[in-house]
Structures are given as C-alpha cells and as structure tokens.
C-alpha cells in the first residue's frame, strides 16, 4: 500500500498496462518528448520508444480517428486529449465513429480504446479551457464514461477501461492531479458502471463524481462533526449509471443533494434526480437539490471564477437546507 498522487497512479497504471500488453500504445499531443502537459506520461517515451508513445500534430480529429482505426484492427490505444475542451474537435470521431462501430457493423468489430482527458475549472484557464462537458459523452450510447475521484479509483478504473472492449472516455480533473491517496498494490480492476458508497450514512445522500465527489466527502466529514450522518456516493461511472446504488441510498435517507461541476440545466445531476424520482419517489421527503456551476462561460478573474464554481460551502448550505426541509432533529 502506497500513498501516491492521482497523477502518479495514472502514470504507474499506464506503464504497467504497457508492460503487460504490447498492444497498448499511447497517442496524443506533447505526450512524448514533452512528457505530457500534466506529466502523466513522464518517462514512457524513453522506456517504450516512439512506436508505443506517439506524439501527434495539433489535430484532434486526426489522431482520435487514427486511434479508432487502430482499435478496430486489434490494438489498445490510449488517447490523451490535452483537455476535454479539445475533444470537441474530435467529436465526430468519438460520437459518430468510435461509439457506432460495434453497433453499425453488426458486431464485426469493436473499438476498444481509452480517451483520457481532464476536465474542470478553477485554474484560471479561461472559459474555453475550463469546461465540464463530460455530459456530451455520457449522453451517447456506445460510449462508456468513467470519472475517478481518487488515486485508487484512477488506477482501478484505468485498468478496467483498458480491459473493456468498448470505447471509454476516461475523465480526469485538473484539480485532482496533485491529490494524494492510498493505492493498494494489488488492486483489481474496477467494475465499470458501479458507484461507490464512500461514506456510509443515514440522514441524507450526497451524490458527486470526479472533483465534486471529493468535495462531497469533505462536506460529509464536516457534517459528521455537526452530528449529521451523510452518505456519500461517488458515481465513478457516468455511463452506465449505477441507478441501483443511488436509489437504495435515497430509499434509506429520504433526501438527496447532487454536487456537480457542470452546469445545472440539463446537467448530469438532472439525470440523477430523474433516476431518484423513478426509483425512490415514495421515499423522498424533500425535493432533490442540485449544486452546480453558475450558468455562465467560466470567468477568468479569480474571484469571479471562484464564485461561479460549486464549493464545499455551497454544498454544505444545500445539505443543511435540505435537512431543514425534512425536519431533521427538530
């Protein structure tokens, strides 16, 4: 058991997978000589050579398309999209090709590939480089979307993504790269489509994924000190969505708050709220609340950027308000 960063967990897992399967190769911008914009691929060009760590031109549609072709022919490409914002340039390859190959060709070919890409704001990168648009991919049948929030999950889900025969969008987060956590040495691959109950509790359910899952556990710990037993669910997978775990939790607690870094309207939280309504309607004692980003292109100025993003404080407030609404300890 080692305590390492999220970044290190990704690096180590990639390296291990490359060692164990020669069909695994990396492709993306600045991942080789420059060792990756976020240094996930540091040292891998030197170790594995140019054939397995491919630097590309700034041409997302081109290299994602190349990866789709490679996957169809039996390789296991791991694409690094420098940020999820740039995935938009490869949207057609991801949505109209990678996601459709298996179904439209009657199962003759899979496209087993991993699209690693970080989302998230808060780094003063401006509106076009700070988005949380994983929803675009979670919306598409034929794709899988996973979103680890801890180093251990990053490792377990990356293993699972590489083993999966469908294209997987692997969502990372700029704010998580330096976070640390315990990673067991012998960690089996995660089950894609399975959420985790990261804090068991009985008074209220807090649901998050990626960065907001870690914020949710912080808030739950703070609530614990205030005498409130909050259950935290880390979705881990956005598609498929683990509705059962959500519903089971809300059936127990009777109320829920969703924390998401994306925009409120039509966001991931809307789908979660609808799932809760479907599966736990008779168990709800208060409306499901969502805490999400302000509906603006994210401002550059630090105070404005901070104000626009959901925070531990805003989540805490929403939880307390929901607890008030169900008459908790009144």
């Amino acid at each position: 058991m080692a305590v390492i960063t999220y970044r290190q967990a990704l690096h180590d897992t990639l390296r291990e997978e490359m060692l164990s399967d020669e069909n695994v190769f990396l492709i993306g911008e600045e991942i080789g000589v420059f060792e990756g914009s976020y240094k996930i691929t540091a040292g891998l060009l030197e170790e594995f050579g140019e054939k397995r760590v491919r630097d590309t031109p700034i041409a997302e549609e081109g290299f994602v398309g190349a990866a789709v072709g490679a996957a169809m022919l039996g390789l296991r490409p791991v694409v690094e999209l420098m940020t999820i914002n740039f995935s938009l340039l490869a949207l057609d390859q991801i949505v109209n090709h990678a996601a459709k190959i298996y179904g439209m060709f009657g199962g003759q070919s899979n496209a087993p590939m991993v699209l690693r890409t970080p989302g998230g704001g808060g780094q003063q990168l401006g509106a076009t480089h700070s988005q949380n648009i994983e929803l675009y991919y979670a919306f598409v049948p034929g794709l899988k979307v996973v979103a680890p929030s801890t180093p251990a999950d990053a490792r377990a889900l990356l293993k699972a993504s590489l083993a999966d025969n469908d294209p997987v969008l692997f969502l990372e987060n700029l704010a998580l790269y330096n976070t640390k956590g315990e990673v067991p040495d012998e960690l089996p691959p995660a089950e894609i489509g399975k959420a985790g109950v990261t804090r068991p509790g009985s008074d209220i359910t807090i649901i998050g994924y990626s960065r907001m899952a870690t914020v949710a556990t912080q808030v739950a710990d703070q609530l614990g000190e205030e005498g409130i037993s909050a259950e935290v669910i880390d979705l881990r997978s956005l598609r498929p969505l683990d509705r059962e775990t959500l519903v089971d939790s809300v059936r127990k607690t009777g109320c829920a708050v969703i924390a998401e870094d994306d925009w409120l309207t039509y966001g991931i939280g809307a789908e979660i709220a609808a799932s809760i309504s479907d599966g736990a309607f008779d168990y709800l004692d208060a409306p499901v609340r969502r805490v999400a980003a302000a509906e603006v292109p994210l401002p550059y100025a630090k105070p404005l950027e901070r104000a626009a993003l959901p925070s531990a404080e805003s989540l805490h407030t929403a939880v307390r308000q929901t607890l008030d609404a169900v008459g908790h300890r009144r």
Binding site: F281, Y283, A286, A325, V326
Partner: protein, 433 residues
C-alpha cells in the same frame, strides 16, 4: 376504476359506520345517486356519488366501522371486478382529496380511458367531496407513504416543512400522538376483553353490545365534562299551576288558528332563552383556560333515542316565539329519531335543557354538555300541598335543577338566573312577552 372512500362528514368525525349500502354490486351509479348511508359520530348521512359508473365491489360491509379515507368500495365501468381488488392497494391514502379535481371534472374521464389506468390516480375518495371540496394536502411522497403505512389521515396533520409541506416527521408525530391517545383505550379494552374472556365462558348471561357512534361520543364527552368541569347544582321548586293553564289556553287558541301545540318544555326552553339573555354570565363557555361570552343564545334540547342521546339545537331561541320553538323542536326531534339530523344542527348550543318529567322523575341533576357552562334538568309536574298566604293549597309543582360549571359560573350568578327563570315560569304571560 375509482375507489370509494369513507368520507369525512363532520369536523369531529374520525371513523364512520356503513349503515346501509343503497347500491349493490353490479348496480349502475349515476353522479348524485346515494350510494350508502354512513353513520357518523353525530348522525346518519347520505353519501352521494361524484362519478358515474358501476359498483364493482363492496370492500366494507354494512355495520362495519372504518376510519376516514379507507376504501369502502370500488366503482368502475362494470368490467373489472377482479382487477378492482388489486387496485385497492394503489392510492389508499384517501385523504388526498383528489376528489376536488375528480368531482369538478368528471367529463374528462371516459370509462374507456379510466379502464386503461390501473392505479387510477383520480380514485381518491369520490364521495369525500360530500364534506365540500378540500385541497389535496401538500405532503412529501415519503410522508404519504408513511401515512399510508401508519394509517394517518393527511388532512389531520399540520405540515412543518417548507410552505407547510407535510414531511415524515409530521406523520411520525401524528402517529405517535394517535397511538398515545388510542393505546390506553385499546389496552383497556383488550385487558377488559382478556379479563372477561374467562368468566364469559362460565357466564353466558353476559353479552357485549357494540357501541353506536352516538354512544361512543356521549361517553367520551360526558366523561370529559364530569372530570373537568366542577359541577354545582341549584334546585328550585316552581309553581306551574298558572303555566299549565296558560299552556292550555295557548294551545286552544293556537289550535283554532291551525298552529302547533306547545308543550311545557317548549315554554321552559323559551323561558330559559329569555333568562339567559337577561343573564349573559350564564351564556358562556370555559375552554382551554379561557372564558368565552356567547353573544347569541342557542338552546340544546336533549332527546333520548334508542341509539343514544342527541341534542338538537334551536338557534337564537331568545328571538323565536314559543310556537316557532315548538314547531322547530318537533321537526328536529323527528329527524333525529330517523338519524337524519345534520351535524351542524346538533352543535353550537350555548345551554341545554333536559326533561325527564314525562317519566315521572321528580327531580334530577344533568351532566353539563360541553362546552356549555350549564344545563337545566326538568322534573315532572305534580300536585302538591303548598302553603299559600297561611292556607294549605293544592298547587302544581315542578322541580328543576341547574348544573353549572363552577369555572365559568359562580353560585350567586346561577342562583339569580334560576330566580328569574322561576319567576318567568310562575308568571307565564311574561314568557311570550
């Protein structure tokens, strides 16, 4: 498919007895038809249908008692007697008076479309609107589910959630309160039953008689009265010789003009109303540590029925003539005998008169009918030897006893009232003045 629920027919009603089903399974029901007679805590009332359809199933038979909101029957298009049974688990929190929308918009539901909706959300108590349209109480889904489970009527619960929403804690509190009030009675009843079961096997001379709602209410209210209101009693002997002959004269004249006969009790009621107007301190109520002055005089007249005691009310008796009081009283007593008196015709009295004179009872003391502050018990009229101006004289005498709630009425106040009442009855022309 539509469930018919036990309707709320009076403010104090908690449960009702199906007196009779006027429709049988398979009968066509048209909107406005009387489906059943329901005995409430106060009266037997007609339950009307608010939808057209066919009575497919009777869930609660005649003579059975169920709480408000419980499904008692199922209406449909006549095709789904079997399916109807399954639907009864659907929306059983009948208090959700979807009836308001159901009743107001029956045309929108053709029989066909209703049949395609298995758990017909419009089912909630079609007949409930008998008590007037009520809003669906705002409650969380969880609160509704818990209310169903615990048998709590949402309309009796005050919501403490945002905007008055009923939430789980409210239901739990209501259920707890309900248990707290019910369980002593239940356990008392159970232990009574347990104690009795042994001797009952040996003693076949003992049989339990099921309580009518009227008897239950009488028991509860009079126990409350005797336990809470400190009663004191003032008895006067009234010389009613003149009153009796006055009544004969009056009746001769009324009969000549085709009017109703007036009884001694009608004259007593009118005299009480007049005396109360003159002594407002007796026309009061003591409730929740507060004293209330009634500005109007409503006289309750106790009537013994086979099923128990009822008290029809003659509102504003002080402003009515004796013959009006006689006519109204007669009409109401007749309807009370048929169980057709409406609850509001049996509530709101500010003073009551109870008369057992017709049974030859000389005098008695009555239990105050809360929240009134006093009740007059009237005995029989009989000839007695009295001393008048130093001579023996045979006079018609009647004894009456005022029971008064000492929290609201002092002895002297009650005595002055009795003095005036006596003097009115002894000078009867003043009663009709």
């Amino acid at each position: 498919m539509t469930e018919i629920h036990m309707p709320r027919l009076s403010d104090t009603m908690e449960e009702g007895v199906i007196s009779t089903w006027r429709k049988q399974v398979g009968d066509q029901i048209n909107r406005g038809d009387v489906v059943a007679d329901i005995e409430t805590d106060k009266a037997v009332m007609e339950m009307e249908a608010y939808d057209d359809g066919v009575l497919e199933k009777i869930l609660i038979g005649a003579g059975e008692t169920v709480p408000i909101g419980v499904p008692i029957g199922i209406m449909g298009d006549g095709s789904g007697a079997a399916a109807a049974a399954g639907a009864s688990g659907g929306d059983s929190d009948g208090s959700a008076a979807g009836s308001a929308t159901t009743g107001s918009n029956p045309e929108s539901d053709s029989p066909g479309s209703a049949a395609t909706e298995p758990a017909a959300p419009r089912s909630a108590g079609s007949a409930e609107s008998d008590a007037g349209p009520r809003e669906r109480p705002k409650a969380s889904p969880l609160a509704r589910a818990v209310a169903r489970e615990k048998g709590v009527d949402l309309s009796t619960v005050t919501g403490t959630g945002p905007g008055g929403r009923i939430i789980r804690v409210d239901i739990e509190a209501a259920a707890e309160a309900k248990t707290a009030t019910e369980s002593p009675q239940q356990s008392a009843a159970e232990s009574h039953r347990a104690e009795r079961s042994e001797p009952q096997q040996q003693n076949e001379d003992l049989e339990e008689i099921p309580l009518s709602n009227i008897r239950k209410v009488t028991a509860r209210r009079l126990t409350e009265s005797k336990q809470q209101a400190p009663h004191f009693y003032l008895t006067s002997a009234v010389d009613v010789t003149d009153l009796v002959s006055f009544r004969s004269d009056l009746n001769e004249r009324l009969q000549a003009s085709g009017g109703p006969k007036v009884s001694v009790n009608d004259l007593v009621v009118k005299a009480c109303a007049t005396a109360l107007r003159a002594n407002p301190s007796v026309n009061v109520s003591f409730r929740d540590e507060k004293l209330f002055q009634h500005k109007r005089v409503h006289l309750g007249v106790a009537v013994a029925l086979d099923s128990g005691l009822v008290v029809p009310v003659i509102p504003d008796a002080d402003r009515k003539s004796v013959s009006e009081i006689a006519a109204e009283g007669k009409e109401k007593v007749e309807r009370a005998r048929d169980g057709k008196l409406k609850p509001d015709e049996m509530s709101g009295s500010t003073f009551s008169v109870s008369n057992l004179g017709m049974f030859g009872i000389e005098e008695f003391s009555a239990v105050i009918n809360p929240p009134e502050a006093a009740i007059l018990a009237v005995g029989a009229t009989r000839e007695e030897v009295q001393v008048r101006d130093g001579e023996f004289a045979v006079r018609k005498m009647m004894r009456m006893t005022l029971s008064a709630d000492h929290r609201a009425v002092d002895g002297a106040v009650g005595a002055v009232f009795m003095q005036q009442l006596t003097s009115l009855l002894q000078d009867p022309i003043r009663i009709i003045a």
